[in-house]
């Protein structure tokens, strides 16, 4: 989401074939139609998409961890079931997205490798710890909420498989945000301790959730290119402002507050304004110094390594079976 895109020369003069491909590609983009996997596409487009989609997939997979930690501690059986279904969905979303990324030519195993070696990033929000049950609410409401605001326009991304994956993700994700909001609502109407827990969770997740939209527009030069390619439809700041407008209304239903006294609607610009975010912290977390960076990566690596013998066994079994079938 917030990494530098290495934009290559888009109109490199190549072979005749490339020139024809470029012309066809340009026309499809100009018509706001969709690029499909077998189409010719500029290298930069392929690379940008592979990076963005795989980062998105990695975020879903790493994002399972903070919530999975609370599955075993969920304070009611109904909440346990809901949370389990939600984390399971995240695994599913990761798979939809890896599928989309694979159509661009990089196999999943290689994408995993990029994640595990630290070459690929994932959303920084998941490097913050989930400390209390209320965090399950705040993650659902704010983190999934921000994700949905980000993702809905991506359903129209110019790359067909990405858009289709996002349609599926968005459809399923609507329950994620609601269940989070309802966790907070229940806490806000509960005991004093529960209410405090809810407010504390909102206080901790508010700013990181806003930063999920990526750096401010003037710090995000690559967004421009993504917008020209119809991958991105709105700028980081536009989406962030829209999100602030939504949650400042919703928080009233909870009877709680957002930890930002500078939120206001600017009548002149027609935009929501908010207090300055601590971008130093954002870049620190991005560089790997968040509270949970090491822990999240270690757990992912451990799962992958511990599973190697299982994956090998299944491959070996499949090979034996197909050999038997050939003999028979």
């Amino acid at each position: 989401m917030a990494t530098q895109t290495d934009v290559r020369d888009l109109h490199a003069v190549g072979s005749e074939e490339d020139q024809a491909g470029q012309a066809y590609f340009d026309k499809i983009i100009a018509d706001d139609s969709r690029i499909e996997p077998a189409d010719w596409m500029p290298e930069g487009y392929r690379k940008t998409l592979t990076r963005q989609i795989s980062q998105h997939a990695h975020s879903e997979i790493i994002g399972m961890q903070p919530e999975a930690n609370f599955i075993t501690r969920a304070p009611s059986l109904k909440r346990k079931a809901i949370l389990m279904a939600k984390v399971q969905d995240e695994a599913g979303h990761g798979l939809y997205l890896y599928s989309a990324a694979e159509t661009l030519g990089t196999p999943r195993e290689e994408l995993f490798d990029q994640l595990l070696t630290g070459k690929a990033k994932y959303s920084s929000i998941f490097n913050y710890p989930a400390l209390t049950w209320a965090d399950m609410g705040a993650i659902g409401w704010l983190v999934d909420g921000a994700a949905i605001v980000n993702q809905v326009p991506l359903c129209r991304a110019s790359y067909g498989p990405y858009g289709r994956a996002m349609v599926r993700v968005c459809k399923e994700e609507s329950f994620h945000q609601r269940q989070g909001f309802e966790i907070l609502l229940e806490l806000a109407n509960g005991t004093e301790a529960q209410k405090q827990m809810a407010q504390d969770a909102i206080n901790r997740f508010y700013a990181p959730a806003l930063m999920m939209f990526g750096p401010n527009d003037d710090e995000s030069p690559n967004s421009q290119q993504s917008m020209r390619w119809n991958i991105k439809r709105f700028s980081n700041d536009e989406l962030r402002q829209r999100f602030v407008g939504m949650i400042q209304e919703q928080v009233k239903v909870l009877g709680l507050t957002l930890p930002d006294d500078q939120i206001r609607f600017n009548e002149e610009t027609g935009k929501w304004e908010y207090g300055e975010l601590d971008w130093n912290e954002f870049y620190e977390v991005l560089k790997g110094r968040g509270p949970c960076n090491a822990q999240r990566m270690e757990r992912r690596r451990e799962a992958h390594e511990n599973g190697a013998w299982v994956r090998e066994a299944a491959s070996a079994y499949a090979a034996k079976q197909s050999q038997k079938a050939q003999v028979a």
Binding site: P75, M84, A91, G94, A303, G307, V310
Partner: protein, 275 residues
């Protein structure tokens, strides 16, 4: 015994824990014996769901995170239905029973309490438990207690899939690589001491003829299918002595205390709270 409202439940329809709760709210009350029996069924499912849910985000492949998650979710659903029904005997909800009972008040068996171990051990535990549970539920659908029968009918279809999942993996691990064969056999050996407990009849079962399924009846079909699967998977039926277990009483494995401490911690920090 179940009240008349139980007849509203059509076996095989997607029966939800909420439906049972509604029925309980409408006045259904079970006898203590039936409640005790439902506790056994519910606790086994609950503890195993708790164990399996640990795998979500840690499975050997992401497709498998989802598969194990599905099994855990199904089991949690069974647990909620059985516990809700059991609770009607004492005016307790599923959550009262799950979060506020002491360790000695649980009725789970040693097998489901066993730690996950590696994927091989988890699959071994799944294999023996799902075969047992399948045999059990496919008889419980004929129980004279309509609610137990209805829960079993809904659950049976799900357990059918759990059993298939476990069998598929047993075949692949058993007849995969040398390492997977060794690990799968070790997994089986390590859960085997706790298999015997599943098939022990006791006084409660004697007091519930026609309602409870007699565990000893399940042993022969269990052994037959297991031997067939293990044979195909090039694995051996373990030659391991049964352990002295709790026999569905108040004694549990050492593992349960830790499991409950984790499961109950948040709820117990906030007595009387709703979530």
């Amino acid at each position: 015994m179940s009240g008349e409202s139980a007849t509203r439940i059509t076996p095989g329809n997607a029966l939800r824990p909420e439906d049972i709760a509604e029925q309980v709210a409408a006045g259904t009350k079970v006898s203590e014996d039936v409640a005790e029996y439902a506790l056994r069924l519910g606790d086994d499912a609950l503890i195993l769901a708790q164990r399996l849910s640990w795998w979500i985000s840690r499975a050997p492949e992401i497709e498998e995170d989802i598969a194990l998650g599905n099994v855990a979710l199904d089991l949690l659903g069974h647990a909620r239905s059985f516990l809700t029904y059991a609770g009607s005997a004492w005016g307790k909800s599923e959550d009262d029973l799950a979060y506020w009972r002491q360790e000695s008040e649980f009725r789970s068996c040693f097998l489901v309490e066993q730690p996950n171990g590696d994927f091989g051990k988890t699959i071994a535990r799944q294999l023996v438990f799902s075969i047992y549970q399948h045999e059990l539920y496919s008889r419980l659908v004929d129980s004279a207690d309509e609610t137990l029968a209805a829960i079993a009918a809904k659950s049976l279809k799900e357990v059918d899939y759990h059993r298939d999942h476990a069998i598929q993996w047993t075949l692949r691990l058993g007849d995969g690589t040398e390492e997977s064969h060794r690990r799968m056999q070790e997994g089986l050996n390590s859960v085997w001491p706790y298999v015997h407990e599943l098939f022990v009849d006791d006084e409660l079962i004697e007091r519930l003829p026609g309602v409870a399924v007699r565990p000893s009846e399940l042993r022969a079909p269990f052994d037959a299918l297991l031997a067939q699967v293990l044979g195909e998977a090039t694995l051996e039926v373990p030659d391991v002595q049964p352990a002295m277990t709790g026999n569905r009483g108040t004694r549990h494995s050492e593992h349960l205390g830790y499991l409950l401490a984790e499961m109950q911690v948040v709820a117990r920090e906030h007595p009387g709270a709703t979530w």
